[in-house]
């Protein structure tokens, strides 16, 4: 049985317009497709990845328009749909004026104090 890894994602919006997605979520999605057992905690600024209705469209540089801006909320939903549990830290949501009703379906909110016991359930804990 594969060992399960918990991925704590804190860094957010690092180069998402250039990449047209988040490279860590992309990597986890691809690893999951290859058979990895993974779950995710969205923490700090990364909690906003789960906020519904983000719109990063409209970028144009020198007249060249971006046709596929990142759609991070959809990427989170898609990842959750592959059997990856996506946890979102409630305390970090509250600090940013967000709550559960702002988030896409399929994610689970947890309190910051629940992260440490959650880590104990995994063979690996990877912080991104």
């Amino acid at each position: 049985m594969p060992k399960r890894a918990l991925n704590i994602v804190s860094s957010a919006y690092r180069a998402t317009l250039e990449e047209q997605d988040d490279t860590v979520l992309w990597l986890l999605h691809t690893m999951r497709a290859a058979g990895a057992e993974l779950d995710v905690v969205l923490q700090d600024n990364a909690v906003n990845y789960a906020a519904r209705g983000q719109d990063a469209s409209g970028l144009s540089v020198g007249g060249r328009r971006q046709t596929h801006p990142p759609r991070l909320d959809e990427d989170v939903s898609r990842l959750a749909g592959t059997g990856v549990q996506v946890f979102v830290v409630e305390d970090d949501l509250a600090e940013r004026g967000l709550d559960r009703s702002d988030l896409v379906d399929g994610v689970t909110t947890i309190a910051r104090k629940e992260i440490a016991p959650l880590c104990a359930r995994y063979a690996y804990v990877w912080r991104w």
């Binding site: 250039e18 990449e19 047209q20 490279t23 691809t30 540089v61 007249g63 060249r64 596929h68």
Partner: protein
């Protein structure tokens, strides 16, 4: 006498590493659209932005092939900005720090950028109306 206002931007971040690169491109775009002459001093990882070897890719996670994904390479943004400046009768002088280029082995660029040194930055600063440094962190 040159009536145009002139701005200099110093940029440092490598491609695909930071949102600061997109911000820098947006500021350069605004400066060009408003008719400024623009200087760019690309330092450290930013010398990779005009690298001609960048290639777009498909995105299996999004279910799009290479054409559908239309992945933006920063070299195309550099080219588009230089062409946009030229169409407006302005100048976008993009200088690549030569030592940074050598360290990273990124010596092949799209048309427009030129190899230079901190002496070019001194010249830019002396003749510019303002200078903005967008540093890496």
């Amino acid at each position: 006498m040159n009536e145009k206002k002139e701005l200099t931007f110093v940029i440092m971040d490598a491609p695909y590493e930071s949102a600061r690169t997109t911000t820098a491109f947006r500021l350069l775009d605004a400066a060009v659209r408003r008719g400024f002459d623009v200087n760019v001093f690309a330092y450290e990882g930013a010398v990779g932005l005009p690298s001609v070897r960048q290639a777009p890719h498909a995105n299996a996670v999004h279910g799009r092939d290479v054409v559908e994904e239309d992945h933006p390479n920063p070299k195309d943004a550099v080219t588009a900005l230089i062409e946009a400046a030229h169409k407006r009768g302005s100048r976008l002088d993009w200088v690549q720090c030569g030592l940074c280029v050598d360290e990273r082995g990124v010596s092949e660029w799209v048309a427009g950028p030129r190899r230079g040194s901190p002496a070019d930055l001194v010249t830019f600063v002396a003749r510019s109306d303002n200078v903005l440094v967008i540093p890496t962190r």
